[in-house]
Structure formats: structure tokens, C-alpha cells
Symmetry: C2
Subunit: 406 residues, 2 copies
């Protein structure tokens, strides 16, 4: 029998209990022995819930119980999660967590403790919810150098972008609807400003580089400025707009960014719609691959947590070697990263064509149906710093700029 | 140092050598020590190729060398691959293979030997080429009961279906083009009749059930009867046609089939185009997920093989527990599996409406632009056996039937 404890009986925690209870027999077969929930830790009471049989309010009881081999941290937030997880690892208990804030900030340190103690710290659910992505990167794509990871890593904003693209709805309307449907928080900042996606791409960047990538170092731009007009231009170009979180290798440098991007119709991420998440990976040998699924939600997230629990239960005294060092990786400056830029300009093509070509060189002009008094153009590939300079020089009035993902 | 031997220096074998040589440093880091190709076994000579330094024509040299811990079988076919793999496993060497015919036929037995010897027999590349799917099923989706796996598992036929759908090209034309581009063999039977996809879904069915699923027991229908008219009907319904290989759980039974299916526009597999493969998975907790990538090709396939080699090198004296028993699984009879059916009928709706409704109950009639002298209809969900009976009773002339994937 393998005893586990679940810290936090909120959405994910109750999901973890439900997944284990529902699939108990199958899970026990896979582990090779019975997986038993010995404790659920929560400050609250749950009158009438069978969880009461194992409910405790005392973390010391959990951390002090030598029978508990695996601890599941699904409380969220940095504290007390960090202190609890660290103490559990130091006490020789493997930990599984869905807590992206914790992993992004303290992953390197917690992995190091797990390695020293010959146990495991796993966090599949912290990126892409139910989608298996961290373990495939660690255990399957090991013949490859990963040259790119680009993800739609936030379901709320993808739901909103999808509605804006397919239904022509405007930003405020779609946000309100998302809030009413429970897809967006009353305070949607973490989603719409890209902070959630940013922590996830920081974790992915750390995993593929083996070094600490701080989310604060990643340029992060949300979707709040995206308009129905932008979507009309996207349609006119056979593209769509998605909030992408990406990490790419160029030479010996990594660059990472979170921002809304124009995405061509043939890109595998183009048709990832609604609340679904997806992670596109390019390996130098594998070529393109993509992993798709539910990026959030009680049971999909819990499914990923339970996958980690099973892996830990099968490897109780054996570190699986997931590591990133605390040495910080210096990302390539955003201004040095080359891409194409889509730019919206006031006035008419006839009026501005010459000045724009003078400033930006070869561009493609775009007109979108139903968008009057302005036009758009797409530049050739150039470093963002060069684009910024040209944009300052150009006398035309630039209404908006959106990066193009090629 | 971990010494390996590669059996077969064809497309995949030379790819394996290339992947290891290109990413040697990274791979060594992941393994934790140097991975060295000690032998490449092939009957042929390769004048001028650096492989000559390690080339051997003598299998006994490989199997008799105690230094060789991992053997890569990429010869293809059943013999001598089966004999070689079995002898290597019995000699205590882990084996990685891309050979779907071998795995579909002898997987259960070879896994059993690997378990007895406390080594590993891995075959990620045998299904979906470079796409990580077997290890995610085994190591990530372990909190779930897998209720469905539906895959586009053959790149040749998917390339053909894509061309027929988007370009209106007809079957013979597209096959010829695929042959000219090297996407289809001169004898295309294994692809277009579905035999290749059938072996792959047999392997997936065995993995998720833990029992032997014989490919001979799976109903297998290829794409040779699909016409441009069928594609026009698909378009009229907002659908497409794909060669799907699927395995589904209904109650305590599994059913499996390979056949062309109509697929709705919202299905994640809808936009998997060209030579790409994709595997859709539904777990009872996870919900929908999808894995996408290159299903064939030298380097993507070799990438998956090398992923297996690394996993084996990290687990030299430890069986990873991948198992299916030799006990054969009895699949649900095709005639008992319920689905909707799309049917093409000679004549006009007016003429046949009454008889069709009498025979099939509620149906939806479909007309496709540019297809004259006939019409189509889609039935409600019913067991295939019931459909067959009704089709016999119905006096209308049925020109074609295509199953609908819901």
C-alpha cells in the first residue's frame, strides 16, 4: 500500500480525490499496489462529504507521518504551499503539484531537494492542465534538441480570441460572456494580461534549457488591445490571432515571449479553439509535433496530477532525473529577435505607400472588409528593435502592431 | 559508456545513426554517460560511409558481445527480425524497434521475455512515427481509463484524402502523384487497403487493454472506393473523409475498426492534413486530448527510436512495466457497434423519400453540388448489423456507404 496526502480540497484537490476513487482499481494495477488517500488537508470543514474520514487541519500530522510517501500540493499560491512542499520533500516524501506559480518561482530548488533525497517532485498539471507535455519532453523527445515550443497555454483567452474571430464579437462583450460562463475570473488580469501563460512558458523554457528562466524576464503582452478590426485583418490574410507563449532557440540563445500573434491557416495551432490548450514543439530531428487537450478544469487537471502520483508511486526510491539548475538563463533581448510585423495605419495606401516603403522596405499591403479610413501592411522579417526604430521614423500614424508567427 | 548495436542500415537505421551523431552531446547528458554505437549490422556494404568503422555482417558477433546493452531493430518484416530480437532479449539486451509488423504479431511474447530478464522492449516508433504516444499512454495517462483512441495513422492515405478533399482530385490521379512524390509505394496496397493502420491500431488496442489484440480480428477497409463525389457530399455536410483507425470501449467491451469515415469540422482530427499523423485519445477523467506529428520519415521515426534507446539506457536493469498479456482479447462484433451511416442512393429524394424513411427511420437527406442523378442521407445511430439489414430491405439502389465518426 502506498499512502498519499492531498494538501487542499478545492477544485483540483477534490478532483484528485474523485479521479482516484473513480479509477481506483486501474490505478492500483498500474502502481502495483493499493494507492490510499490517508489525509486530505484543508482549513475548511466539509459537512456530509465522505472526505471527512480523512480530513485533517494539521499539516504537522501529514509531514510527521512516515507512512505518507507522496504528498499532493493543490492549494495554489506561493505560501504556505512553498513551505509545505519543501518540508515534505525534506522529510523524504515525493510531491506532485499543479501549482504553476510555485514551480515557476521555486522549481529549481525543489527539484534539487528531491534529487538529494532520491525522491521526486513532479508538476505535469502546472502546464497545459491535462495535456501530457512535461513528461513527453523529459522521457520521449530525448533524441532531439528542442528548437521551439509555442503554446496556447491559457484557455480563457483562447475562448475569447476564438469568439472574437469566429463571431466578430468585441473584446468587452466576450470578456463579459466568459465571466458569466465561469471561463474568466471576476478579476481577469492574470489571464488577459498573459501572466498565467507567462509562468507556464517560463516552466517549459526552464525544462528544455535545464536552467532557471524567470518569468519576470519574459516580455509579456496580453490581449486587452486586440479588437474586432484586428480580427478582420487576420481573416483577410487567411490568418487568425492567438495569445501565444513561445520559447525558441536561435543559435546558442533562447528567446521567450508571451503576446498576441497572427497565425497562418496552415499552422497546427490555428484550429485550436475555445478553452482548449495546445503545445507545438519543434525538434531538430523530430520536426513538428503538437500536444492538444484540456488546459484547465477540475478533472483534466486532476488527471495529470494523478498521472504524476502514479509515476512517483512506481519510483518511490528513485529520482527520475527531472532537473533544472538554479543558474539563471539570460534570454535573448526581445529587440534582437527577428520576425514579421503587421501594422495598422491611418489613411489610405495611396497616400502613405511611398513613406512606408521608404521606412520599412518591402511590405505587403492589406485591406480588410468593413474597416475604413485605414489600412494594414506586413513587413519582411526584421529584429524587433529595427522595427521599433523604423516605426518611429515613419511619418504615418500607426494605430496598432501585431507580431506575426511564421 | 553504454554500447548499442543497430540491426539494419536502411532508412530508419541510417536515421538512428544520424540522430545520435547529430545530438550526441545532448543525448549523453540525458543518459548520464556516453552512448556509443558499437555495431551496425547489415548484409550490404556501404563504400565510403563512415558507418564502415562499425559495420558487421555477423549477427552472432552482436548477440555474443556482452558489452552491447541495447539493440535497435530497424530491419522491418517478421523474419529474421523476430529471431534476432528474441535472441537479443534472451541474452539480456534491451531492444528498441520501429517494426510494427513484429510488434503487432509478437509484442506480448517479447514484452514477457523483457520482463523476465528485467530489461526493456520498447517500440514507440512503431505507431505514429515520431509522435510520442505509447509512452504518454503508459507513463502519463495513468489516472485515466482510456475510452477511445482514434488515429490518422497512415501518412500516405492522409495525403491522398487531403488532396481529394481540398483539390477535388480523383483517387487514381492522387495515387499516381503520391507515388511520383515518394509518398506512396509502387505497390501501395499496405497503405491504401488500411493494413498499415490496422497493425498500428492493434498495437494501441493491446497497450490500452493489456491483452493481445490480433490485427486479423480488426475489420479493415481501405480508401480505394472513396471518390470525388464522396468528398463533395462531405463538404456539403461541413465534414471531411479520413482513413481512421479506432479503438473504443463500450461498457466492458472494446471494438476496433479501420475504415474511411466522415468527420465533422469541429473534430480535432479534422484539420490533420497531408502526410501528418495524429492520435486522438479520450480518457474518462482527462476528456479529449490529441497527439500530432510526423507519422513517418527517416528522422522523425529515428527520433522516436532514439527516445526509446535513451529510456532503456537510463533503465538498464529495470523493467519499465510495459505489458500486454498473450491472452487474446475478444473484440466486440462490428455488427453490434452503433454509429451513424452516410448512404448514397440513385435517383431523387422525391422518388425515394418514403421508402427510405420506412426502411431506416429518421434520416437527414443531403444533396451535393455537382453530383447529379443521386442523393445522400445520414441515418440515426444504429448497430451496423441493423443498418445492413435495413439496407437489404430498402428497395432503393445504394451506391455507397461511409461510416460517420461522431
Amino acid at each position: 500500500m502506498v499512502n498519499i496526502a492531498v494538501l487542499g480540497y478545492g477544485t483540483v484537490g477534490s478532483g484528485v480525490v474523485e479521479v482516484i476513487r473513480t479509477n481506483q482499481k486501474l490505478i492500483d494495477q498500474r502502481v502495483g499496489e493499493e494507492l490510499r488517500i490517508k489525509y486530505v488537508l484543508d482549513l475548511k470543514e466539509f459537512p456530509g462529504d465522505p472526505v471527512n474520514e480523512v480530513l485533517t487541519h494539521d499539516f504537522e500530522q501529514v509531514v510527521g507521518d512516515e507512512d505518507v510517501k507522496i504528498v499532493v500540493e493543490v492549494m495554489g499560491g506561493i505560501e504556505p504551499a512553498y513551505t509545505f512542499v519543501k518540508r515534505c520533500l525534506e522529510a523524504g516524501k515525493s510531491v506532485a503539484t499543479s501549482n504553476k506559480a510555485l514551480v515557476a518561482k521555486h522549481g529549481a530548488e525543489l527539484l534539487k531537494i528531491a534529487k538529494e533525497k532520491n525522491i521526486n517532485f513532479l508538476f505535469e498539471a502546472s502546464v497545459g492542465g491535462g495535456i501530457p507535455i512535461l513528461r513527453p519532453l523529459h522521457s520521449s523527445l530525448t533524441g532531439d534538441e528542442i528548437e521551439e515550443i509555442t503554446g496556447i497555454l491559457n484557455g480563457t483567452t483562447n475562448y475569447m480570441m476564438t469568439k472574437m474571430f469566429y463571431e466578430g464579437a468585441d473584446y468587452d462583450e466576450v470578456l463579459k460572456e466568459a465571466q458569466e460562463n465561469g471561463y474568466a475570473e471576476r478579476n481577469p488580469e492574470a489571464d488577459v494580461e498573459g501572466h498565467d501563460a507567462c509562468r507556464k512558458i517560463a516552466i517549459l523554457s526552464s525544462i528544455i534549457s535545464g536552467h532557471q528562466v524567470d518569468f519576470e524576464d519574459i516580455y509579456c503582452e496580453g490581449i486587452t488591445k486586440i479588437t474586432t478590426e484586428d480580427m478582420k485583418y487576420a481573416k483577410a490574410m487567411g490568418m487568425t490571432i492567438k495569445l501565444l507563449a513561445s520559447c525558441k532557440r536561435e543559435g546558442d540563445k533562447l528567446n521567450a515571449i508571451v503576446c498576441p500573434c497572427l497565425l497562418r491557416g496552415e499552422h497546427p495551432l490555428f484550429s485550436v479553439n475555445g478553452v482548449f490548450n495546445s503545445v507545438f514543439v519543434h525538434g531538430n530531428m523530430l520536426g513538428d509535433a503538437m500536444f492538444y487537450g484540456s488546459g484547465a478544469g477540475k478533472l483534466p487537471t486532476a488527471s495529470a496530477v494523478v498521472g504524476d502520483i502514479v509515476e512517483e508511486a512506481k519510483n518511490l526510491d528513485r529520482n527520475l532525473g527531472v532537473m533544472w539548475s538554479a543558474d539563471k538563463l539570460v534570454l535573448e533581448d526581445k529587440n534582437d529577435v527577428s520576425r514579421r510585423f503587421f501594422v495598422r495605419v491611418e489613411g489610405s495606401v495611396d497616400e502613405w505607400q511611398e513613406q512606408i516603403i521608404n521606412a520599412f522596405g518591402m511590405v505587403q499591403f492589406v485591406k480588410a472588409e468593413g474597416v475604413d479610413g485605414e489600412f494594414g501592411f506586413v513587413t519582411e522579417k526584421m529584429p524587433e528593435g529595427v522595427y521599433e526604430e523604423k516605426a518611429k521614423e515613419c511619418p504615418a500614424v500607426i494605430k496598432a502592431m501585431i507580431r506575426v508567427e511564421d
